[in-house]
């Protein structure tokens, strides 16, 4: 115990060893930053700031400006293949992405989520239908990442609020005409889930935009009959890759699970983008890079719409779906900060 360093080191042995979890510190750091950023935005009408985030509104007199706040969503997203993942619990908060993957050792499918706030991957206690093993099953994450809609093994359509942990079973018992069995559904915005009615109700309306061709559900309500095309004109919705197959630029479709055909055609000189797993607005496609990570691809530079043909093929884990608004706004924020 000769030197001052030694004495200090000896004293430091009495130091505490505890502290709040890293996830809590991270969340508190983000929240504190948001508060500071909001104050700055209100004072200077600054739009965009360091970091990423989902846009909400703060009022400054008569004007409102986007507050650069919210969950951290950064690309690329690297799927945690083969890693042991923690249980995220009933209410992990908004997710940036969710997908289904075969459980280790076979058996039921496992829902894996990416928590937007922390960037943590984990499993979700969601009992999904075995029909998800087939190509035509659907589930959907709302654009803000807060709600997930999925089919249970009892063929109930359930919406889970990921902030509160509450689940709502959509009451189709008294709904007329009947909801399409195993029909596609998707979120047209953060709170409106839409899907088709059964084709036999009015076969012509399904493709012609009849007044009663679909249903819409909002939290706290029962599903209501709606004319999908007339109510949501131009919205790319409904499909196994909602927002992909129906996207106006995505003109050339190949059968799912056929990426090789796509790649082959592209090699032959066709202007195709293979393995699209999501779209964000008219200019950004989510796809995979060579290492299997999800990346955003800027396709706005393709001036000729005829050359924007994109082929959506199966890729990555089963049934991946993204909080596209959340990711898109993060990309905007990154642009603003750079």
């Amino acid at each position: 115990m000769d030197t001052l360093h030694d004495r200090l080191a000896d004293l430091a042995e009495d130091a505490p060893t505890g502290g709040a979890p890293a996830s809590e510190l991270w969340a508190r750091g983000k929240r504190a930053h948001r508060v500071r950023a909001a104050g700055l935005a209100a004072a200077l009408l600054v739009v965009g700031a360091v970091g990423t985030g989902i846009g909400v509104r703060v009022v400054d007199g008569d004007r409102s400006v986007p507050e650069p706040v919210g969950p951290v969503v950064a690309l690329p997203i690297e799927y945690p293949v083969g890693k042991e993942l923690p249980d995220l619990g009933e209410a992990p908060g908004p997710l940036a992405a969710i997908w289904l993957t075969p459980h280790e050792g076979g058996g039921a499918l496992e829902a894996v989520g990416l928590v937007a706030e922390t960037g943590r991957f984990g499993t979700l206690p969601i009992d999904v239908s075995s029909s998800y093993m087939t190509p035509d099953a659907y589930f959907a994450l709302s654009p803000d990442g807060r709600r997930i809609a999925y089919d249970t093994p009892a063929d109930e359509l359930v919406v889970r609020d990921l902030e509160t942990g509450e689940s709502s079973s959509l009451a189709f018992d008294s709904f007329q005409p009947r909801r399409a069995d195993d029909g596609p559904y998707t979120w047209v915005d953060a709170t409106h889930l839409v899907g088709h009615v059964a084709p036999e109700a009015d076969p012509a309306s399904i493709h012609q935009g009849g007044e009663g061709d679909g249903w819409v559900w909002q939290p706290g309500t029962a599903p209501k009959l709606v004319g999908l095309v007339s109510t949501y004109p131009g919205s790319p919705y409904l499909g196994p890759h909602a927002g992909v197959f129906e996207h106006p630029w995505f003109l050339t479709l190949l059968p799912k699970g056929d990426p090789q055909t796509c790649l082959s055609l592209r090699d032959d000189g066709m202007p195709l983008l293979c393995d699209v797993v999501g779209v964000i607005g008219p200019e950004i496609a989510l796809t995979h890079d060579g290492d299997g990570a999800v990346v955003a691809l800027d396709i706005k530079g393709v001036e000729n719409p005829a050359l924007r043909d994109v082929v959506a093929t199966a890729g990555a884990p089963l049934r991946v779906t993204f909080a596209t608004d959340l990711i898109g706004q993060s990309l905007d924020a990154d642009d603003g900060a750079s």
Binding site: M1, T3, L4, H5, R7, L8, A9, D10, L11, A12, E13, D14, A15, P16, T17, G18, G19, A20, A22, S23, L25, W26, R28, G29, K30, A32, H33, V50, G51, V72, V73, A74, L75, P76, I77, E78, A96, L114, T118, G119, R120
Partner: protein
């Protein structure tokens, strides 16, 4: 999506070391934990820019926060829950050193800890605290003199 993952790895790997420094800066378990926690929260918004080499920046925040917090305020009394559980053969020396440290000003203490515990150079200590190298020398000289005086006395 590596920001949080990197942060978590850093916290897991380096929290204990940060707590040791913080304990010397504060002399108190609760304050040390609070200081480290506060520093880690403060660096989160900067993480994307510092993630390649976060420790120097984290320690800079830690040191400056300690000075700002305790400036103009006496170092807290050494909490009674700290020393007894650490009692062993040289506990007397620890208690004496704690008492010596608490008689220093926050900046003197910070300079002493950074220079003689974290082994920073005078230039790095100056950068961490946002003061000049000359001031670091002055604080270190005065702090050491006070410690020697106490030892002799």
């Amino acid at each position: 999506m590596t920001g949080y993952v990197d942060f978590e790895e850093f916290v897991v790997a380096r929290r204990a070391a940060l707590l040791r420094t913080a304990y010397l800066l504060t002399g108190n378990h609760h304050d040390a934990e609070d200081l480290v926690q506060s520093a880690l929260i403060k660096v989160v918004p900067k993480w994307a820019r510092i993630s390649d080499r976060p420790e120097p920046y984290v320690r800079q925040v830690l040191a400056r926060e300690s000075v700002n917090r305790w400036r103009g305020r006496r170092w807290r009394e050494v909490a009674t829950d700290v020393v007894p559980e650490a009692m062993h053969h040289d506990s007397t020396d620890r208690i004496a050193l704690l008492e010596d440290l608490r008689r220093l000003s926050p900046r003197q203490r910070a300079v002493l800890v950074l220079r003689y515990f974290d082994d920073l150079t005078e230039a790095d200590t100056a950068a961490a605290l946002g003061i000049s190298v000359g001031t670091v020398k002055s604080y270190a000289r005065d702090a050491l003199a006070r410690l020697r005086k106490r030892a002799v006395g």
